[in-house]
Amino acid sequence: MLRRVLIALVLAALIGAGIGLWVTAPSRVDAARLAGLTGDTTRGQAVFTAAGCASCHHAPGSDDKLVLAGGQAFASDFGTFYAPNISPSQAGLQGWSQADFANAVLRGVSPSGKHYYPAFPYTAYARMTDQDLVDLWAYMQGLPADDTASQAHDVGFPFNIRRSVGGWKFLFFTTEGWVAEAPTPELERGRYLVEALAHCAECHTPRNALGALDTARWMAGAPNPSGRGTIPALTPDQLDWSAQDIAYYLETGFTPEFDSAGGHMVAVVDNFSKLPAGDRAAVAAYVKALSAP
């Protein structure tokens, strides 16, 4: 409780200091960047799968994961967020330009210039390549349309003021740079998948009091945001699986002891089982190269 009050105070101060200042003003992607790129739906599907867009945006309880009607709830220290409808319909992204989409996914900025909350992991997607972004957009426009209206989030003051997210972004949001070194092409691919697309750290890395990832304890395990239990560490002091074990887990959900994955990791495994074996091997290599916190 005390922590929440403190956070609220700090954020309120930030808003006060930030209103009208450039720190809280949204920054946009330079439209010229995407000019000349053409989207490929097949490659876009792979980006979509690795990035796990459907895992958050499909309707709760629905078996058709490609209908991105939204509605799933995400609990956090700051309130509950609901994933919006992002299907190509009136209730979703119909009428959006490619530039609108790029600003949302790469910068966390809406078409009307409002900040999105980082419950939408644009903090990771910011590192997505321009080609992947364009491919992803091409693919998503061909998905089924659904008319379910998006729900309002359930967050209290001061977090309900989207402008306050500008202060948060000023402190914690970087659009480039990586956490891990990647000296080989395989590690580079693994790093791109882990840090940019699949946002593994969003679950496996602990957060500071303001909800930002603690990069000093990268992948060191974290409390489960929905309350009880913990999300396991992937660092070598805690996880002694071989690279083959990790790749096999991402493919099948089976641990080396043939226990089976549960909880939110199931969606990640379902996605990775559809990707090429080389991608699973690259992620495994990245995980094996992590250092203990």
Binding site: N224, G229, T252, G253, F254, F258, S260, G262, G263, V266
Partner: protein, 152 residues
């Protein structure tokens, strides 16, 4: 001195776990043991699929038959009220199980169906095991996704 203390602490920790395991209701021990039997038999089939264990038709068949055998144990008596992870220590069974018992049983039956697919495939050679394993794995994940809590 320090060493004695460490040894003492280790011994206490050991007794603590032992006492703890004994305190678990028998139904919880039974269901956890049952899941372990499943994992052990899957380990044999998975080892073959991965190429880590050499294929032997009789061994593979016995593992698959065991899975089918376990799937025929009626799960209902193992899910006793009050044995969810909110109520007692030492279990990862989510309270949601008791709000959706029909669905839990349906998911258990789905595992049983997948085990039968494996039973038919196990004698056919190592290549047949991989796909059947994928089918079974899907049924484990589906239930763990909904009804098993994260590690505490």
């Amino acid at each position: 001195m320090y060493k004695t203390f460490a040894a003492l602490a280790a011994a206490t920790a050991l007794t603590a776990t032992a006492a703890f395991a004994q305190d678990l209701p028998k139904e919880v021990k039974a269901r956890q043991g049952q899941f372990q039997i499943m994992a052990i038999n899957l380990g044999i089939l998975g080892g073959i699929a991965k190429g880590a264990i050499e294929y032997d038709a009789a061994t593979a068949q016995a593992a698959a038959d065991s899975l089918v055998g376990i799937s025929m144990v009626n799960p209902a008596p193992l899910w006793v009220e009050g044995t969810d992870e909110m109520s007692i220590e030492g279990t990862r069974a989510k309270a949601e199980i008791w709000d959706n018992l029909d669905d839990v049983v349906a998911k258990w039956n789905a595992f049983g169906e997948a085990a039968k697919v494996m039973q038919a495939a196990a004698g056919e050679g190592p290549e047949a095991i991989g796909p059947a394993l994928g089918t079974i794995g899907g049924t484990c994940k589906a239930c763990h996704d909904a009804y098993r809590a994260p590690q505490s």
